[in-house]
Amino acid sequence: MAGLAKYIQWLWMLSVALQVLVCSLLFFKGYYRRLPVFTAYVLSNVCQAAALYVTYNLYGFRTGSAIAIGWSTQGATQLLRILATTEVIRLILRPYRGIWGLGWRVLVGAFAAVFSVTLIDSGRGLQWTIGLADRGFHLAFGIALVACLSLVHYYSVPIHPVYKALLGGFCFYSCTAVIANTVGRILYLKGYGDFGMGWQLVTMGAYMGVLLVWLVALRTPLPEPPRQLTFPEAERTYWEMSPRINERLRALNERLDNFWNSEATQS
Protein backbone atom coordinates (compact mmCIF):
# COMPACT_ATOMS: atom_id res chain seq x y z
CA MET A 1 0.00 0.00 0.00
CA ALA A 2 2.70 2.39 -1.03
CA GLY A 3 1.84 6.05 -0.58
CA LEU A 4 -0.98 5.54 1.93
CA ALA A 5 -0.46 6.74 5.50
CA LYS A 6 -0.59 4.07 8.19
CA TYR A 7 -3.68 5.54 9.92
CA ILE A 8 -5.53 5.61 6.60
CA GLN A 9 -4.74 1.95 6.10
CA TRP A 10 -6.12 1.17 9.57
CA LEU A 11 -9.23 3.20 8.89
CA TRP A 12 -9.65 1.41 5.62
CA MET A 13 -9.46 -2.01 7.25
CA LEU A 14 -11.91 -0.92 9.93
CA SER A 15 -14.26 0.39 7.25
CA VAL A 16 -14.09 -2.89 5.31
CA ALA A 17 -14.75 -4.82 8.53
CA LEU A 18 -17.85 -2.69 9.19
CA GLN A 19 -19.05 -3.21 5.63
CA VAL A 20 -18.63 -6.96 6.00
CA LEU A 21 -20.63 -6.78 9.26
CA VAL A 22 -23.45 -4.87 7.55
CA CYS A 23 -23.39 -7.37 4.70
CA SER A 24 -23.51 -10.29 7.12
CA LEU A 25 -26.45 -8.74 8.92
CA LEU A 26 -28.28 -8.26 5.62
CA PHE A 27 -27.78 -11.92 4.72
CA PHE A 28 -28.21 -13.32 8.24
CA LYS A 29 -31.55 -11.59 8.74
CA GLY A 30 -32.68 -12.26 5.21
CA TYR A 31 -32.97 -8.57 4.39
CA TYR A 32 -31.18 -9.09 1.10
CA ARG A 33 -34.48 -10.39 -0.28
CA ARG A 34 -36.25 -7.15 0.54
CA LEU A 35 -33.28 -4.90 -0.13
CA PRO A 36 -31.41 -6.62 -2.97
CA VAL A 37 -29.97 -3.48 -4.53
CA PHE A 38 -28.93 -2.05 -1.18
CA THR A 39 -27.17 -5.35 -0.40
CA ALA A 40 -25.48 -5.19 -3.81
CA TYR A 41 -24.36 -1.64 -3.02
CA VAL A 42 -22.69 -2.65 0.27
CA LEU A 43 -21.15 -5.70 -1.43
CA SER A 44 -19.84 -3.52 -4.25
CA ASN A 45 -18.10 -1.33 -1.70
CA VAL A 46 -16.36 -4.36 -0.22
CA CYS A 47 -15.34 -5.50 -3.71
CA GLN A 48 -14.13 -1.98 -4.55
CA ALA A 49 -12.01 -1.91 -1.40
CA ALA A 50 -10.47 -5.26 -2.36
CA ALA A 51 -9.80 -4.08 -5.92
CA LEU A 52 -8.20 -0.86 -4.67
CA TYR A 53 -6.09 -2.77 -2.17
CA VAL A 54 -4.65 -4.87 -4.97
CA THR A 55 -4.25 -1.84 -7.27
CA TYR A 56 -2.46 0.29 -4.68
CA ASN A 57 -0.17 -2.62 -3.85
CA LEU A 58 0.69 -3.11 -7.51
CA TYR A 59 0.84 0.47 -8.81
CA GLY A 60 0.99 2.71 -5.74
CA PHE A 61 -1.53 5.29 -4.49
CA ARG A 62 -0.90 8.26 -6.78
CA THR A 63 -0.21 6.56 -10.11
CA GLY A 64 -2.37 7.07 -13.19
CA SER A 65 -3.49 3.43 -13.24
CA ALA A 66 -4.55 3.57 -9.58
CA ILE A 67 -6.56 6.77 -10.20
CA ALA A 68 -8.20 5.31 -13.32
CA ILE A 69 -9.19 2.06 -11.59
CA GLY A 70 -10.26 3.91 -8.44
CA TRP A 71 -12.63 6.29 -10.22
CA SER A 72 -14.03 3.72 -12.63
CA THR A 73 -14.99 1.40 -9.76
CA GLN A 74 -16.37 4.45 -7.98
CA GLY A 75 -18.71 5.03 -10.94
CA ALA A 76 -20.22 1.59 -10.49
CA THR A 77 -20.78 2.05 -6.75
CA GLN A 78 -22.31 5.50 -7.31
CA LEU A 79 -24.77 4.00 -9.75
CA LEU A 80 -25.67 1.29 -7.23
CA ARG A 81 -26.06 3.96 -4.56
CA ILE A 82 -28.67 5.76 -6.70
CA LEU A 83 -30.47 2.49 -7.37
CA ALA A 84 -30.35 1.50 -3.67
CA THR A 85 -31.84 4.85 -2.65
CA THR A 86 -34.56 4.49 -5.26
CA GLU A 87 -35.25 1.00 -3.94
CA VAL A 88 -35.75 2.24 -0.37
CA ILE A 89 -37.98 5.13 -1.49
CA ARG A 90 -39.94 2.70 -3.64
CA LEU A 91 -40.49 0.50 -0.57
CA ILE A 92 -41.72 3.49 1.44
CA LEU A 93 -44.08 4.62 -1.30
CA ARG A 94 -45.20 1.16 -2.36
CA PRO A 95 -48.76 1.55 -1.12
CA TYR A 96 -49.03 5.03 -2.63
CA ARG A 97 -48.74 4.59 -6.35
CA GLY A 98 -49.71 8.14 -7.14
CA ILE A 99 -47.16 9.68 -4.79
CA TRP A 100 -44.47 7.29 -6.08
CA GLY A 101 -45.21 8.47 -9.63
CA LEU A 102 -44.57 12.00 -8.48
CA GLY A 103 -41.63 11.02 -6.27
CA TRP A 104 -39.47 9.37 -8.91
CA ARG A 105 -40.00 12.32 -11.24
CA VAL A 106 -38.82 14.69 -8.51
CA LEU A 107 -35.83 12.45 -7.82
CA VAL A 108 -34.77 12.23 -11.48
CA GLY A 109 -35.58 15.87 -12.29
CA ALA A 110 -33.75 17.33 -9.31
CA PHE A 111 -30.73 15.09 -9.79
CA ALA A 112 -30.41 15.83 -13.51
CA ALA A 113 -30.87 19.58 -13.04
CA VAL A 114 -28.38 19.99 -10.19
CA PHE A 115 -25.82 17.62 -11.69
CA SER A 116 -25.90 19.50 -15.01
CA VAL A 117 -25.39 22.83 -13.29
CA THR A 118 -22.47 21.57 -11.22
CA LEU A 119 -20.68 20.30 -14.35
CA ILE A 120 -20.36 23.83 -15.73
CA ASP A 121 -16.67 24.76 -15.81
CA SER A 122 -15.59 21.13 -16.06
CA GLY A 123 -13.39 21.49 -19.15
CA ARG A 124 -10.07 21.96 -17.35
CA GLY A 125 -8.48 18.56 -17.60
CA LEU A 126 -9.39 15.09 -16.42
CA GLN A 127 -8.40 15.43 -12.77
CA TRP A 128 -10.34 18.68 -12.42
CA THR A 129 -13.38 17.21 -14.17
CA ILE A 130 -13.39 14.08 -12.00
CA GLY A 131 -13.25 16.14 -8.82
CA LEU A 132 -16.01 18.43 -10.06
CA ALA A 133 -18.15 15.50 -11.19
CA ASP A 134 -17.76 13.75 -7.83
CA ARG A 135 -18.80 16.86 -5.92
CA GLY A 136 -21.61 17.47 -8.40
CA PHE A 137 -22.83 13.92 -8.02
CA HIS A 138 -22.98 14.10 -4.24
CA LEU A 139 -24.60 17.51 -4.25
CA ALA A 140 -27.21 16.46 -6.82
CA PHE A 141 -27.82 13.23 -4.95
CA GLY A 142 -28.30 15.03 -1.63
CA ILE A 143 -30.62 17.67 -3.06
CA ALA A 144 -32.69 15.12 -5.02
CA LEU A 145 -33.01 12.87 -1.97
CA VAL A 146 -34.06 15.70 0.35
CA ALA A 147 -36.51 16.99 -2.30
CA CYS A 148 -38.06 13.54 -2.60
CA LEU A 149 -38.22 13.10 1.18
CA SER A 150 -39.84 16.54 1.49
CA LEU A 151 -42.52 15.32 -0.88
CA VAL A 152 -43.01 12.19 1.25
CA HIS A 153 -43.25 14.40 4.34
CA TYR A 154 -45.70 16.77 2.62
CA TYR A 155 -48.12 13.91 2.00
CA SER A 156 -47.61 12.62 5.58
CA VAL A 157 -46.42 9.22 4.35
CA PRO A 158 -44.89 7.30 7.29
CA ILE A 159 -41.24 6.22 7.06
CA HIS A 160 -40.02 3.24 9.10
CA PRO A 161 -36.97 4.01 11.33
CA VAL A 162 -34.77 1.53 9.41
CA TYR A 163 -35.48 3.29 6.13
CA LYS A 164 -34.91 6.63 7.81
CA ALA A 165 -31.47 5.43 8.93
CA LEU A 166 -30.59 4.15 5.45
CA LEU A 167 -31.68 7.30 3.63
CA GLY A 168 -30.30 9.62 6.29
CA GLY A 169 -26.96 7.82 6.07
CA PHE A 170 -26.81 8.20 2.31
CA CYS A 171 -27.58 11.90 2.54
CA PHE A 172 -25.14 12.57 5.37
CA TYR A 173 -22.32 10.84 3.52
CA SER A 174 -23.01 12.85 0.37
CA CYS A 175 -23.02 16.12 2.35
CA THR A 176 -19.65 15.22 3.87
CA ALA A 177 -18.26 14.35 0.45
CA VAL A 178 -19.36 17.76 -0.92
CA ILE A 179 -17.55 19.58 1.89
CA ALA A 180 -14.44 17.38 1.59
CA ASN A 181 -14.30 17.95 -2.18
CA THR A 182 -14.74 21.71 -1.77
CA VAL A 183 -12.01 22.00 0.87
CA GLY A 184 -9.72 19.79 -1.23
CA ARG A 185 -10.27 21.96 -4.29
CA ILE A 186 -9.53 25.15 -2.35
CA LEU A 187 -6.33 23.73 -0.91
CA TYR A 188 -5.28 22.48 -4.34
CA LEU A 189 -5.93 25.87 -5.97
CA LYS A 190 -4.06 27.73 -3.23
CA GLY A 191 -1.07 25.44 -3.62
CA TYR A 192 -1.24 23.85 -0.18
CA GLY A 193 -0.47 20.47 -1.67
CA ASP A 194 -2.37 17.28 -2.02
CA PHE A 195 -5.52 16.84 0.04
CA GLY A 196 -5.74 13.14 -0.91
CA MET A 197 -5.07 11.88 2.60
CA GLY A 198 -7.35 14.42 4.21
CA TRP A 199 -10.10 13.59 1.73
CA GLN A 200 -9.71 9.87 2.48
CA LEU A 201 -9.80 10.56 6.22
CA VAL A 202 -12.94 12.74 6.14
CA THR A 203 -14.98 10.66 3.69
CA MET A 204 -13.95 7.35 5.22
CA GLY A 205 -14.69 8.62 8.72
CA ALA A 206 -18.15 9.75 7.63
CA TYR A 207 -18.82 6.48 5.85
CA MET A 208 -17.80 4.52 8.93
CA GLY A 209 -20.19 6.59 11.03
CA VAL A 210 -22.95 5.84 8.53
CA LEU A 211 -22.11 2.11 8.58
CA LEU A 212 -22.35 2.10 12.38
CA VAL A 213 -25.79 3.75 12.22
CA TRP A 214 -26.89 1.18 9.62
CA LEU A 215 -25.58 -1.65 11.77
CA VAL A 216 -27.65 -0.47 14.73
CA ALA A 217 -30.73 0.26 12.59
CA LEU A 218 -30.64 -3.08 10.76
CA ARG A 219 -30.83 -4.96 14.06
CA THR A 220 -34.50 -4.00 14.26
CA PRO A 221 -36.86 -5.93 12.01
CA LEU A 222 -37.87 -4.43 8.70
CA PRO A 223 -41.55 -3.52 8.36
CA GLU A 224 -43.83 -6.00 6.66
CA PRO A 225 -44.15 -5.11 2.99
CA PRO A 226 -47.42 -3.20 2.75
CA ARG A 227 -50.08 -4.37 0.35
CA GLN A 228 -50.58 -2.22 -2.64
CA LEU A 229 -54.16 -1.08 -2.60
CA THR A 230 -56.10 0.70 -5.26
CA PHE A 231 -59.26 2.65 -4.70
CA PRO A 232 -61.06 3.34 -7.95
CA GLU A 233 -63.37 5.71 -6.06
CA ALA A 234 -60.39 7.63 -4.71
CA GLU A 235 -58.93 8.05 -8.17
CA ARG A 236 -62.24 9.25 -9.56
CA THR A 237 -62.62 11.62 -6.61
CA TYR A 238 -59.09 12.89 -7.17
CA TRP A 239 -59.59 13.67 -10.84
CA GLU A 240 -62.91 15.33 -10.13
CA MET A 241 -61.95 17.35 -7.09
CA SER A 242 -58.31 18.23 -7.70
CA PRO A 243 -58.92 20.75 -10.51
CA ARG A 244 -61.70 22.30 -8.46
CA ILE A 245 -59.49 22.72 -5.42
CA ASN A 246 -56.85 24.36 -7.60
CA GLU A 247 -59.48 26.62 -9.09
CA ARG A 248 -60.53 27.75 -5.61
CA LEU A 249 -56.95 28.38 -4.59
CA ARG A 250 -56.31 30.33 -7.77
CA ALA A 251 -59.39 32.47 -7.15
CA LEU A 252 -58.23 33.22 -3.64
CA ASN A 253 -54.81 34.18 -4.86
CA GLU A 254 -56.28 36.55 -7.42
CA ARG A 255 -58.44 38.12 -4.73
CA LEU A 256 -55.49 38.60 -2.43
CA ASP A 257 -53.52 40.02 -5.32
CA ASN A 258 -56.26 42.52 -6.12
CA PHE A 259 -56.57 43.48 -2.50
CA TRP A 260 -52.91 44.32 -2.36
CA ASN A 261 -52.93 46.19 -5.66
CA SER A 262 -56.00 48.24 -4.77
CA GLU A 263 -54.38 49.17 -1.49
CA ALA A 264 -51.20 50.16 -3.27
CA THR A 265 -53.03 52.38 -5.72
CA GLN A 266 -55.12 53.98 -3.01
CA SER A 267 -52.11 54.89 -0.87
Binding site: V146, F172, T237, E240, S242, N253
Partner: protein, 192 residues
Protein backbone atom coordinates in the same frame (compact mmCIF):
# COMPACT_ATOMS: atom_id res chain seq x y z
CA UNK B 1 -12.77 31.88 3.89
CA UNK B 2 -13.36 30.93 0.29
CA UNK B 3 -16.64 31.89 -1.38
CA UNK B 4 -17.19 28.38 -2.71
CA UNK B 5 -16.80 26.95 0.80
CA UNK B 6 -19.37 29.42 2.11
CA UNK B 7 -21.80 28.58 -0.70
CA UNK B 8 -21.41 24.80 -0.49
CA UNK B 9 -21.25 24.89 3.30
CA UNK B 10 -24.55 26.78 3.42
CA UNK B 11 -26.18 24.39 0.96
CA UNK B 12 -24.99 21.37 2.94
CA UNK B 13 -26.13 22.87 6.23
CA UNK B 14 -29.54 23.65 4.73
CA UNK B 15 -29.76 20.10 3.37
CA UNK B 16 -28.92 18.57 6.75
CA UNK B 17 -31.45 20.78 8.56
CA UNK B 18 -34.13 19.89 5.99
CA UNK B 19 -33.23 16.22 6.26
CA UNK B 20 -33.63 16.39 10.04
CA UNK B 21 -37.00 18.09 9.66
CA UNK B 22 -38.42 15.66 7.12
CA UNK B 23 -37.16 12.59 8.98
CA UNK B 24 -38.56 13.74 12.30
CA UNK B 25 -41.45 11.82 13.81
CA UNK B 26 -42.13 8.27 14.87
CA UNK B 27 -42.81 6.78 11.48
CA UNK B 28 -46.54 6.98 11.89
CA UNK B 29 -48.71 9.04 9.58
CA UNK B 30 -49.18 12.49 11.10
CA UNK B 31 -52.82 12.95 10.31
CA UNK B 32 -53.44 9.50 8.83
CA UNK B 33 -56.54 9.51 6.69
CA UNK B 34 -58.57 11.33 9.31
CA UNK B 35 -60.34 14.33 8.01
CA UNK B 36 -59.93 17.64 9.81
CA UNK B 37 -61.94 17.56 12.98
CA UNK B 38 -65.26 19.20 12.40
CA UNK B 39 -64.17 20.86 9.19
CA UNK B 40 -67.72 21.48 8.16
CA UNK B 41 -68.60 22.90 11.53
CA UNK B 42 -65.54 25.13 11.52
CA UNK B 43 -66.37 26.59 8.13
CA UNK B 44 -69.97 27.08 9.10
CA UNK B 45 -69.01 28.73 12.38
CA UNK B 46 -66.92 31.32 10.61
CA UNK B 47 -69.56 32.15 8.09
CA UNK B 48 -72.20 32.35 10.86
CA UNK B 49 -70.32 35.35 12.19
CA UNK B 50 -70.07 37.07 8.84
CA UNK B 51 -72.85 39.64 9.46
CA UNK B 52 -71.25 40.56 12.77
CA UNK B 53 -67.85 40.77 11.09
CA UNK B 54 -69.21 43.06 8.41
CA UNK B 55 -70.93 45.19 11.02
CA UNK B 56 -67.80 45.36 13.15
CA UNK B 57 -65.68 46.51 10.23
CA UNK B 58 -68.06 49.06 8.79
CA UNK B 59 -66.52 52.52 8.53
CA UNK B 60 -69.86 54.19 9.48
CA UNK B 61 -69.37 53.45 13.16
CA UNK B 62 -65.92 54.90 13.11
CA UNK B 63 -67.18 58.08 11.48
CA UNK B 64 -69.94 58.33 14.08
CA UNK B 65 -67.45 57.90 16.92
CA UNK B 66 -65.23 60.55 15.39
CA UNK B 67 -68.18 62.94 15.20
CA UNK B 68 -69.36 62.21 18.74
CA UNK B 69 -65.91 63.15 20.07
CA UNK B 70 -65.64 60.56 22.83
CA UNK B 71 -61.89 60.56 23.57
CA UNK B 72 -60.07 57.27 23.53
CA UNK B 73 -63.10 55.33 22.41
CA UNK B 74 -62.30 55.59 18.72
CA UNK B 75 -58.77 54.26 19.25
CA UNK B 76 -60.07 51.42 21.36
CA UNK B 77 -62.63 50.47 18.75
CA UNK B 78 -59.96 50.62 16.05
CA UNK B 79 -57.75 48.28 18.05
CA UNK B 80 -60.61 45.87 18.65
CA UNK B 81 -61.57 45.88 14.99
CA UNK B 82 -58.02 45.13 13.98
CA UNK B 83 -57.92 42.25 16.45
CA UNK B 84 -61.16 40.88 15.02
CA UNK B 85 -59.80 41.16 11.47
CA UNK B 86 -56.64 39.31 12.48
CA UNK B 87 -58.65 36.54 14.14
CA UNK B 88 -60.75 36.21 11.04
CA UNK B 89 -57.69 36.06 8.82
CA UNK B 90 -56.24 33.33 11.06
CA UNK B 91 -59.48 31.39 10.83
CA UNK B 92 -59.37 31.66 7.06
CA UNK B 93 -55.83 30.30 7.07
CA UNK B 94 -56.98 27.34 9.16
CA UNK B 95 -59.76 26.63 6.67
CA UNK B 96 -57.27 26.91 3.85
CA UNK B 97 -55.01 24.38 5.55
CA UNK B 98 -57.94 22.03 6.08
CA UNK B 99 -58.73 22.22 2.40
CA UNK B 100 -55.10 21.42 1.64
CA UNK B 101 -55.24 18.48 4.05
CA UNK B 102 -58.30 17.06 2.30
CA UNK B 103 -56.58 17.42 -1.06
CA UNK B 104 -53.51 15.60 0.30
CA UNK B 105 -55.63 12.74 1.67
CA UNK B 106 -57.34 12.33 -1.68
CA UNK B 107 -53.99 12.43 -3.50
CA UNK B 108 -52.45 9.90 -1.10
CA UNK B 109 -55.25 7.38 -1.60
CA UNK B 110 -55.51 7.80 -5.33
CA UNK B 111 -53.50 5.29 -7.37
CA UNK B 112 -52.76 7.95 -9.92
CA UNK B 113 -52.26 11.65 -9.45
CA UNK B 114 -51.63 14.49 -11.84
CA UNK B 115 -48.11 15.83 -11.62
CA UNK B 116 -49.17 19.17 -13.08
CA UNK B 117 -52.12 19.39 -10.67
CA UNK B 118 -49.91 18.75 -7.66
CA UNK B 119 -47.21 21.20 -8.70
CA UNK B 120 -49.86 23.80 -9.48
CA UNK B 121 -51.31 23.32 -5.99
CA UNK B 122 -47.88 23.66 -4.44
CA UNK B 123 -47.31 26.88 -6.38
CA UNK B 124 -50.72 28.23 -5.37
CA UNK B 125 -50.09 27.35 -1.75
CA UNK B 126 -46.78 29.18 -1.71
CA UNK B 127 -48.42 32.12 -3.43
CA UNK B 128 -51.28 32.16 -0.92
CA UNK B 129 -48.93 31.97 2.04
CA UNK B 130 -46.82 34.80 0.67
CA UNK B 131 -49.84 37.09 0.17
CA UNK B 132 -51.36 36.05 3.46
CA UNK B 133 -48.20 36.96 5.36
CA UNK B 134 -47.94 40.34 3.68
CA UNK B 135 -51.55 41.18 4.57
CA UNK B 136 -51.07 39.81 8.08
CA UNK B 137 -47.94 41.87 8.63
CA UNK B 138 -49.52 45.03 7.30
CA UNK B 139 -52.54 44.50 9.56
CA UNK B 140 -50.37 43.87 12.58
CA UNK B 141 -48.25 46.90 11.87
CA UNK B 142 -51.39 48.98 11.41
CA UNK B 143 -50.55 49.94 7.83
CA UNK B 144 -54.02 49.04 6.58
CA UNK B 145 -56.59 51.65 7.61
CA UNK B 146 -60.04 50.46 8.66
CA UNK B 147 -61.94 51.17 5.43
CA UNK B 148 -59.53 48.77 3.78
CA UNK B 149 -60.13 46.25 6.51
CA UNK B 150 -63.72 46.37 5.38
CA UNK B 151 -62.56 45.48 1.86
CA UNK B 152 -60.70 42.59 3.40
CA UNK B 153 -63.86 41.47 5.14
CA UNK B 154 -65.74 41.43 1.84
CA UNK B 155 -62.91 39.54 0.24
CA UNK B 156 -62.73 36.94 2.96
CA UNK B 157 -66.45 36.49 3.36
CA UNK B 158 -66.88 35.75 -0.33
CA UNK B 159 -64.15 33.19 -0.22
CA UNK B 160 -65.28 31.70 3.05
CA UNK B 161 -68.76 30.94 1.73
CA UNK B 162 -67.29 29.18 -1.31
CA UNK B 163 -64.76 27.42 0.86
CA UNK B 164 -67.49 26.12 3.10
CA UNK B 165 -69.29 24.61 0.11
CA UNK B 166 -66.07 23.05 -1.14
CA UNK B 167 -65.10 21.77 2.29
CA UNK B 168 -68.47 20.14 2.78
CA UNK B 169 -68.27 18.44 -0.60
CA UNK B 170 -64.63 17.43 -0.10
CA UNK B 171 -65.43 16.17 3.39
CA UNK B 172 -68.22 13.95 2.13
CA UNK B 173 -66.15 12.55 -0.73
CA UNK B 174 -62.99 12.02 1.32
CA UNK B 175 -64.97 10.53 4.23
CA UNK B 176 -66.35 7.97 1.81
CA UNK B 177 -62.86 7.00 0.69
CA UNK B 178 -61.42 7.06 4.24
CA UNK B 179 -64.29 4.85 5.40
CA UNK B 180 -63.39 2.39 2.68
CA UNK B 181 -59.81 2.28 3.94
CA UNK B 182 -60.89 1.44 7.49
CA UNK B 183 -63.87 -0.66 6.49
CA UNK B 184 -63.52 -4.31 7.63
CA UNK B 185 -64.99 -5.92 4.52
CA UNK B 186 -63.30 -3.63 1.96
CA UNK B 187 -65.36 -5.09 -0.81
CA UNK B 188 -64.59 -2.32 -3.18
CA UNK B 189 -60.85 -2.37 -2.66
CA UNK B 190 -58.80 -4.12 -5.28
CA UNK B 191 -55.58 -5.67 -4.08
CA UNK B 192 -52.74 -5.88 -6.54
Amino acid sequence: MSLSLIIFGTIVLALLVLLGLVLRGNGQPAGSYALPKGSEEAGRAHTNFLPQMRQALKPDDEEFLARSGVRGLRERVTRERRRVALSYLTALREEFEELMHVSRVIATLSPQIGVAQEFERLRLRLSFLWRYRIILLSLRAGFAPLPRLCDLSNLLSGYSVRLEETMREMGERAALVAEMVSSPDRRRIHRI
